[in-house]
Symmetry: D3
Subunit: 147 residues, 6 copies
């Protein structure tokens, strides 16, 4: 039942919208002075997904772990991204499913007016499905917040 890596339907659907050569993504973010990190997490517990993203963001200095306002901004971005992933209730194992996700956290200034300040984006992409190998399809989520 495994997904054919050359025909991941969700990924293709997304790239139809996002069509851009990705080779220079890292350079562009670095050039812009933005900070970001990526990681992976697989779990049947939503709180472990939250913790994995929070830990990566803190360890990579995307947010200042001493400031609650930054943790608060990140937390809500993660929960919003999880709503895209879970589509209905932010529950994973408690409704007998599991996720295998890659995630990214990006912090930067996306608005032309510099007074709009910094924002944070959390993106999750991977698979969701039954706790049986291959019995899964793709899923994505994105949460954005001012920081």
């Amino acid at each position: 039942m495994a997904l054919n890596q050359n025909f991941r339907i969700g990924r293709k659907a997304l790239l139809l919208l996002l069509n851009e050569e990705d080779k220079k993504q890292h350079e562009r973010l670095a050039d812009a002075g933005w900070c970001y990190c990526t990681g992976k997490v697989g779990s049947m517990e939503a709180h472990k997904v939250v913790a994995a993203v929070e830990t990566a963001a803190k360890n990579n200095q995307i947010i200042n772990k001493e400031l609650y306002r930054e943790g608060h901004a990140l937390y809500h971005a993660i929960i919003e991204a999880l709503q895209g992933v879970t589509r209905g209730q932010v529950q994973i194992g408690s409704v007998l499913r599991t996720v295998g996700l890659s995630f990214s956290v990006v912090r930067g200034s996306p608005y032309e007016n510099s007074a709009e300040g910094e924002w944070i984006a959390v993106s999750l992409y991977g698979t969701i499905g039954a706790p049986v190998k291959g019995a899964e399809h793709e899923t994505i989520g994105l949460g954005i917040n001012h920081i």
Copy 2:
């Protein structure tokens, strides 16, 4: 308050996950014999987003408009994608916000085992925000269903 098109934070976050040159997306889908369509819709009413995606999918023969089972598969994929976009309640203007979305619908066979048959993916990407120009941030959603 307009988004700087060179620094769309959500798009960059997504491409960190999706990093792939997109130039050949259309060719690849055609080569695989998959069918797909894209479109745009801006609205304060969720039902208009649903209708726009349904109409495009029918007019481009992505689904057979004579079969309810295909419409049913598509409908649930759209609602799931809208949950990623709206993150909490599938409401737009009724909670005083608006969306400007691009969408894609892809139909194909993403599993190695051909017995898994065809699946449909609906992706939405664009902005959500107040009904004031520029007072918006990016949003994404993905819904996948067997068909």
Copy 3:
């Protein structure tokens, strides 16, 4: 695409659980001194379903229209029944679907201990689907409250 009236799958599934000859339903309820009413409502607006059930319950003296506490008990039973019908968000036309429902409201004392007093049950059964004839499947909901 019309449903074959002899093979309503949801109704059959329900009757597997409820298996009982129905001929004497009305007599039994009357014998027990319970009051009840039935009706039908088709709409794309959830508030019209609520209003149809409330109006029927008041006009048939199932609840006392002068007492808010009875209206409050009935209202929450209706909303709970609608959650079974809508499965996710209590929205109909705003997510481009329509319902055609039969409903019943029953008031009585279902517990052995008479001190448990009266309760009210609202049941909804019918179809939900696209605003296209036949593009629909069955749906059911049940809400129960003390009154």
Copy 4:
């Protein structure tokens, strides 16, 4: 506080809608060539309800356990049925309540047009309440999906 088995208010409300002699349910389903199964599950954990229905459906060959597309169809039907049972959040013990449910799974072709193919219905009926004997009322749920 036990429910009086002769006056189950929700069941009566449902039968007002479903009024039909049930004696021949099993024969009719068999005559139609439909497959179905029934079972029972009591739990404070939603994932155990999901698992009980999935296991029964697989063991009785209602779905092909080798095909994810069939498991996917069944899973969403179960979750939709659970939304009718839980009415708000698909949570049981995590909000201090428990369920005792009978369930049925039916697979067949309910539309006149044979091109509409097979559909699956999951029905849940029983009680929900506090984890105290008798402190409970009836609940029902129905989920239907194309398969």
Copy 5:
């Protein structure tokens, strides 16, 4: 059916938590012949918050622990109050957050028409946040039901 402006049950329940220095709150409730209790609970599990409030209400004879209809009224008031506290999904630790709450339960007759009978209000006030000391902000919830 009008609310008696001097006996707004929700406001009284809230002020029991918020207006610590208001010496006359307790006297006023006692003078009116209303019964009430207060308590505290900190947890990462929603069911423990439910249990703490239920136990306090029973031990202080706010509700009759022998009657399910009273427990049912209280349960729904608690869950409604928790929705104000959690704002989206009635989950705490499962989405990696914790609460520290004071609660009050008030039972009385808030309507001018005595036929409206008794009602129950549950109020929760405290903090919600990450499981890190100080990484939290305030939260409130109020649930009201007829009893």
Copy 6:
């Protein structure tokens, strides 16, 4: 990161609505250099509640109407407060109910560590019920966000 117990922003926002006779609320907020406003709104449409609070906050210079980041912070605080008011789905007239609300918006620095910066609290208090005079009970909501 600890909250300053003398400057709990949510409590202050709530007491502005509940403690009408407390003459010193306004003085205390002014002494602290915090800004705030209050208002009233009655509607069957959620977006009108959002608009009333947003307009009051902008007209009273609680937020800078030129900055989306401030509007974004306020918007999410309003929606969170509405979740306490509506308890389940952020819908009013669409499920046949109406609200009559007072609201307050408070902006200040509630944490002992000044680096935590400014936060915004939105509080709603009033009645919710059927569109029939007197058929209503109290309701409250509080949303807090960093700004």
